[in-house]
Amino acid sequence: MHGSEADAASVLFGLNPMWVAAVLFAITYIVVMTEKVNRAIVSLLAAGLMIVLGVLNQEAAIRGIDFNTIGLLIGMMVIVAITRQSGVFQFLAIWAAKKVQARPWGILVMISLVTAVTSAFLDNVTTVLLVVPVTLLITEELKVSPYPYLFAMIFSSNIGGTATLIGDPPNIMIGSATGLTFNDFAYNLTPAIVVIMAATLIPIYFIWGRHLKAAPEDRQRVMQFNEREAITDQRLLKQCLSVIGLVIAGFIFAKALHLEAATVAMTGAALLLLLANFGRDAEHQSKHVLEAFNEVEWITIFFFVGLFIVVHGVDGTGLLKLLADKMLALTGGNLTATSMIILWSSAILSAIIDNIPFVATMIPLIKAMAPTFGGPEGLMPLWWALSLGACLGGNGTLIGASANLVVAGFAERAGQPIRFMQYTLLAFPIMLMSIAISMIYLYWRYL
């Protein structure tokens, strides 16, 4: 618990701060869910009201913002914004398709793997924005329906994103709040993710994969793609790959070097900006730096800022501690039962609501359980349950994660719309299967 009585300014009209905070928090959730008002506006306004109504003062509000999460997100977004210009993602997709002689099912597997691995290191939305266009081109040339490919890509982007500290916002938040490192995430989550990825491809094979066929001459056309030509800028590519290599090394050795993830990502971003702009005159530098900064998803960033303040305000009133106690009373303080409840409720809720506010709320709630489970060390299974549930749950419906909506947008424009119910009927059971695998994994490894 980082909130304290000293943080609270005096609440207006003598209202109970816990109630003010709870009502503001509930309204924020509901308005974000309806999507009638942009989520950044909602969270910033709610954060402002928290301060104006005296639930917490500005100093406490700023302390509530997790700048490690913000810095890590912005740093990685800048690195990706520059790297995408090199054409390396198109290269990867085409290379993967040719490795399997442009066989339709082989391509589906390869594209899924490229998406999963890329999502593990980059933002999921960016990944699908880069890989979907090539995939659509390939399916068009092969004269096969893009639907199964896009379906598989939604799943692989969310599954891949779960594997590492930097793959998905929930992991970034959990890592930052608990001090769990890049290596901790890789060591504890990646094995489960490999199994889940493989298991997800099985139903996709039986539903669509075994029926996918392409004529030899159409496959020949894809085989004639020259992936080397997809690389637009060799020099930039080398710079990007070097910096990404350094950044990942930085994450791996962060603990030994006493560095936080945001420092690694932001320094990497600054270094790449320096290399990419080296030798350019002042005017061109400004233009290119501004372009890179414009690619940062400011809506997400400001949504985080507001949300951290709102959750900190709620936390400071003791409401989350109260909820944690209720939950523990329900499970009788049993670690297995608590893990399972967190896993399944995170999954089902994340399929319907945005997992970012959910995880932001769960973090202080789980932290409040530390005394029951013998200190922060005892909470490990709960963090992995939260991460697996919140990240994988996003696959359940079309609105479960932002990457899903981006893929659906492409599908719509390509004249192959992914319908909400049609998607949910297949995706929800496959998502539940991935949670069942996670359950077995957690049980086997930690409980």
Binding site: V132, P133, V134, L136, Q224, F225, R228
Partner: protein
């Protein structure tokens, strides 16, 4: 001077149900760059242009707004491009129009020039404000002739 005085009130137009093949014939025969497309009520739906023909030779995945910004890795020959265009001959033109910024009959001449400059187009459709009917087309060449005539 307004759009009304600059425009050609009887431009060649396409019906929304006309096919790509018909449009291509007109464009080739008359060396036109832009053909406005109207529905049965004469309402402006968009413009079929030489750029529409270029698009028709390309894969859809390239044309998406977040699509591929370069395709130098595809090694297709002119025959492949022609085959793709050929496969779309019977498509209605309305699927391939671009909706340009339009002028209204009372739009001032300078605004029309600015529309051409910003839209990088040589023809501006003139559309009735209330019922969206196409009233005429302002071609860059008509404007230029008027300008040169005045300055001589």
């Amino acid at each position: 001077m307004t759009a009304q005085t600059l425009m050609n009130p009887h431009p060649m137009t396409l019906r929304s149900s006309d096919t790509v093949a018909t449009a291509a014939d007109h464009i080739l025969k008359h060396h036109l760059r832009h053909l406005p497309v109207v529905d049965e009520q004469g309402r402006y739906l968009g413009t079929f242009s030489i750029y529409s023909l270029l698009k028709l030779t390309l894969p859809k995945a390239v044309l998406d707004k977040y699509g591929l910004d370069h395709v130098s890795f595809i090694t297709e020959n002119i025959g492949d491009l022609a085959k793709r265009l050929g496969g779309r001959r019977e498509d209605p033109v309305k699927n391939w129009v671009n909706v340009h910024d339009v002028a209204h009959p009372d739009t001032p001449a300078m605004e029309v020039m600015l529309l051409m400059l910003h839209g990088r187009t040589t023809s501006v459709p003139v559309v009735d404000k209330t019922n969206d009917r196409l009233e005429g087309i302002i071609s860059f060449w008509d404007v230029l002739e008027k300008l040169m005539g005045e300055s001589a």
